[in-house]
Amino acid sequence: MNSEKQLIIHDIREKIYWAIRMRYVIVVLGLILLPFAFFSNVQLGPLPYLLGFVLAYNLAAHLICLTKRRFEWVWQTLFLQSLFLIFDILTVTFFIYISGGLESPYWFFYLVLIIISGFGVYSYTSFSVFLIAVFSAAFYLGLLVLTYYGIIPTYGPTFSLSPQELLRSIINKAVFTTISFFLFAATIYYFSKLIVQHRYELAKKNQELLGTLEELKEIDRLKDDFVTTASHELRTPLSVVRENVSLIEDGVIGQTSDKQKELLKVSRLNIDRLAGILDSLLDISKIESRSLELKREKVNFSLLAARAVEILSSRAAEKKIVLKLDVPDRLETLADPDQILRVFINLIDNAIKYTPEGGRVEIGLFSEGSRIKGCVTDNGLGIVQADLKKIFERFVRLESEQTALIKGTGLGLSICLGILEMHGGSIWAESKGAGQGSTFIFTVPKVEA
């Protein structure tokens, strides 16, 4: 038996149980209201028998459900459901009979049954509302006919109407109730169909989204794999070449002439350059695909700035550039120390690169309200207004006579931007124009541990 059928059967069983519970409640209510029924037009006599009848078939339904644990087909369950449904209609009809028959105001109980079935308590398809409408109309009409022909004794008030008037009254009532049953059934049917449709579409959409989620997770995993593999695949041959070149250059393989050493040294430095570019590329790809994992530690920004200055001090010395550090003793927040160090190194290195000999680079840090602000200022080549935003784009390098000789990949600033954004901060550049130096400013929100 396929699982969809299982679900349907399970569904109907649930509804049968629900109906069983409802009937117990009605029986109990009926018993409680028994004394009050005296004050409405309900004949007290048969009422207990009616309640007994309901209890009887409800217990039967309950018993069947308990003992027959596995229903074989959908139709078996539907049959059972319909059977008890008809008993319910019978119950309502009888109640109407003992509460005045033709004059009874309780014929709207049929409508209640129609509503409940429309919203699925009784049925699996909402088309069964019409089934209930038919049976209700049939039983009610049957009641009217039997009363008219005197086949069953009337319990209600006797009519002072003539037979023709009585007949007309009966026909009116019959037509009226039958039409209203069907109209009602049709309305409920329409609405329940809408709801079912809506639920179905929702479930389908859910499925689709789950599927998409799985796909995206897979792509993410593949991306991560790619970065790891690419990293390994590119670095391995690079390191082999570097080592071999270095071995020959150092004379380990045999004597090397000075000229040979010279060429090998250049080769080695270029391999280092390649490795650096590789690192930048992999970083930018990680940042953009959001697979860069950030550490969260208490970080002293002043310490990192000092470290960056230390690392770049020899490069600055080569160009006779002064590095001035103006930072407080401690400026801490939660951040990734390696990445923030990267930012400092990139900015200071850029400043050194784009400042001619004898220039000056100043690094400052302040606490500004709820954020930390850092700035790197140089008195170098400066940046024109139009380029201030562009330089943060990938692979963008400023082209001019002076910058033509400066080496770089154009990735440094976009990596900084990526890192700062991941920390919830920002970075921008300010400059008065060409030849007027530039200042790079970044902010990081202060986060408590």
Binding site: V227, S231, R235, S239, V240, E243, S246, D279, E293
Partner: protein
């Protein structure tokens, strides 16, 4: 100060890399043993008890992390310093290296001066421990 030549076990599956590093180490007075996969590496380490192990992470048969872990979690071999030498630079790899008990983590390509410096540092640290 012992005159015995210090023995380094190099576990690296990329033969060109292994040859290059071996040359460099021998030129600097070390004696080098090689293995090209994790299983052989582990067995050699246990049999030969080298003074230091240089371990690549991506290895066939048994990856570097496992080899490191198995040596470090074993009392008999815990004292042998392990240097992970790898092209894998992800943060998670470094963390895993630390968790597995590696004494040092170096990424490729590396500067040979740095590698030698690290090796010497690890070995002298070891000697100090042994003498203490």
């Amino acid at each position: 100060m012992s005159e015995h030549q210090e023995r380094i076990l190099l576990i690296e599956d990329e033969k060109a890399m292994s040859d290059a590093v071996k040359l460099r180490l021998e030129a600097n007075g070390f004696s080098v043993l090689t293995a090209y996969d994790g299983q052989t590496g582990l067995a050699t380490a246990r049999k030969e008890r080298p003074d230091l192990i240089i371990l690549d992470v991506m290895l066939p048969k048994l990856d570097g992390f496992m080899v490191c872990r198995m040596l470090k979690f074993d009392e008999k071999y815990r004292n042998i310093p392990v240097l992970l030498l790898t092209a894998r630079t992800q943060q998670t790899d470094v963390q895993q290296g630390e968790e597995m008990g590696a004494d040092a983590y170096m990424t490729k390509p590396f500067k040979s001066e740095e590698l030698l410096a690290r090796i010497r540092a690890l070995l002298s640290g070891e000697n100090k421990k042994a003498e203490a």
